[in-house]
Subunit: 399 residues, 2 copies
């Protein structure tokens, strides 16, 4: 079985390494040897063994009928979208780590693959090496998935962990993450929640079986979380985590990405540093947590390699991922009830306590400010009630 890798960046070179490192067992598991015939990249890599298979022109690969499987690990919509459509149209299965493309066009590409008797796999698009996609599609299939709550971005989890453990300010923690290679030089997609939003769209679509667009997912990053909030949360026995939160009630889906206060009785409290954790609740199985490295060269490459083996094993017998292009019915935004953490100046504290109710109060806070947890209410109610108050921070509480 001949394959090609589109993109020789971090993940692409990882896929190249894993396929070579584990070639004997991969052959055994796929039932046939898997050989990398081409690697597509615009760059040259002088002296790198990849040179022997490196090509700059996608046409060579698309026109080679020997190539049956493509690992698309370029990232971004263009030209990956076009390349993927052309490959699938030619009956070549595609395995990807490209969450942006999967979130935007997953349903269409799955449909196109099915039409052409091949597969579109995307295990590596959420949770890196954590087998969350296949578990949702093949293992927890006896279950109606009622909730998914996950820490799906390692960069922000690292920043929040460092802020929580050593009281660092956001800017300092971000800088440290960049120095350690956990955050990009332009960290916007991570810290503003866009990366988590894409993963939430994929998970929500799979849970619902219907398309959930990124635009349907209200998203808030972690840029406004202060060292005071982290300290107040600690005083309340909680940590602040950026969560992708998906719920299904009465065939309606609600999804959001936002910082949450998470307490110690929740497994996600113990998911720290760059690790990801995804808590799936099924109506039969109950809560299942998947935990591991959500990013990084080898974990992500391992997931792509797993997809390549499945694609090779079942070549010509396409799998049946249920994700229709029809839009999922979304619940009205802000309608879900929950408690809120609020930080507010002492002047307004009495008024805020009266209006919102106090469920728990933090002992830690800045001079002249107080922080507390409200009674449960919907976001709509909260906004209505607090329209005359100057709330410094408001964070959802994971309940």
């Amino acid at each position: 079985m001949k394959i090609a890798i589109f993109g020789f960046g971090t993940v692409g070179s990882g896929v190249y390494d894993v396929i070579n490192m584990n070639s004997a067992l991969i052959e055994k598991r796929a039932g046939k040897p898997i050989e990398i015939k081409y690697v597509l990249d615009l760059r040259d890599f002088p002296g790198n063994p990849v040179e022997k298979v490196l090509v700059h022109d996608v046409e060579i690969i698309l026109n080679d009928p020997e190539v049956k499987i493509i690992a698309e690990v370029m990232g971004g919509i263009n030209p990956a979208y076009d390349f993927t459509k052309r490959a699938l149209s030619l009956g070549k299965s595609v395995c990807t780590s490209n969450k942006e493309l999967v979130a935007a066009h997953g349903a269409e590409l799955i449909e196109l693959a099915k039409k052409n008797n091949c597969d579109y796999y995307f295990e590596a698009s959420v949770g890196g090496g954590i087998p969350i996609i296949r578990s949702l599609c093949d293992s927890l299939v006896g279950d109606d998935i009622v909730e998914i709550k996950g820490i799906v971005n390692g960069t922000t989890n690292y920043i929040l962990t460092r802020m929580g453990e050593d009281g660092l300010d956001f800017d300092v923690a971000l800088k440290e993450a960049q120095e350690n290679g956990y955050a990009e030089r332009n960290p916007a997609a991570d810290i503003e929640g866009t990366d988590a939003q894409r993963k939430a769209a994929i998970l929500a679509s799979l849970a619902a079986g219907h398309q959930v667009d990124c635009d349907d997912i209200p998203t808030e990053g972690i840029c406004n979380i202060t060292a005071e909030d982290i300290a107040c949360a600690k005083g309340l026995g909680a940590k602040i985590k950026l969560l992708a939160s998906i719920r299904r009630d009465d065939e309606k889906v609600s999804a959001m990405v936002a910082p949450f206060l998470v307490f110690e009785n929740c497994q996600l409290y113990h998911v720290n540093n760059v690790f990801n954790g995804i808590l799936v609740t099924g109506n039969a199985t109950g809560e299942v947590l998947f935990y591991g490295r959500g990013a990084g060269k080898l974990p992500t490459a391992g997931a792509v390699a797993g997809d390549i083996i499945e694609a090779a094993k079942y070549y010509g017998l396409p799998s049946d991922i249920i994700w229709s292009r029809e839009k999922a019915k979304m619940a009205e935004q802000g309608s879900i009830s929950g408690r809120f953490y609020v930080r507010i100046s002492e002047n307004e504290a009495m008024e805020a306590r009266k209006i919102l109710g106090v469920n728990a109060e933090s002992s830690t806070g800045k001079e002249g400010e107080i922080a507390f947890i409200t009674e449960a209410m919907s976001e709509k109610e909260f906004l209505e009630k607090t329209k005359n108050l100057h709330i410094l921070t408001r964070i959802c509480v994971y309940d």
Copy 2:
């Protein structure tokens, strides 16, 4: 697609409930409706809707060519082994929660299924509702599995949690577990580690691709763990957990079931009460944790239902679980190096400290006794060194 359920006990009635409760989505996911045509049980269930499909004679089911899939949830080797062989020989796929049978005859039954173009699935045999089997077989296939460490028995984890949280004695915690329905009236298989040993045999066989027998797995239960040990462990910052521990080095497998001291930096530290947690390490993906309810009616039934859907979807296209009947090469027992927790009388403490080295000392202990953690050594070395000492408790340390 017509199916039959063998056994209408806790899990069997759960499978019956889940298939009925989630019938619409199961039909969608399997690509065809799934109908329970028979339930086999020797007992009668007057007034229960199951009566309409209840039969006492297995021949009726085996001789009915309409029945393509069987859920074997009877437990025990006999007559489940015979029934399963006959069903598979007739080309009927079998989905089971029967860990005893899978551990003893899994390889043979997989081979028999393959020969008859059907499947033998056993997701529910380890970790209840946690999708660990399919993750090992289908998702982490790009990885060489180098280690599996798991809390795979909920009963003992509940007992150890209660001893740890409230200082209960073993007997009191066991009695409480029985009163809450978490332990059988005869708890031997759980507390002596036999149940965990079976699950370890299944996981080790799948990791190696070769048969690992229960007899190859030295097994120690939790009956000898005292309240003092738990307190000393706490003093050292650790909890005591019963682990199935599997390692692969140089194509050799070592497996054991024993209590371990687990520290807070390990995710298994946070797996408490009746929950299970299984930490898998692959050479590409790194550590992945699977966490959830390892037992109970609906979680286990959910896993069986998931298998039934897969069996229906891929009927006639048998999957390819790699588990050969050829025995795995086992590492010499006691050859792995690690630290040990020891509790010993004060009279022998100085001598023990000198012989074993002291890595950490517990501040908590009974009058006249001390507890400490040794330097790393193999079990063989440990036994050799301590043959003239009266060690009260020795527990492996998870490193």
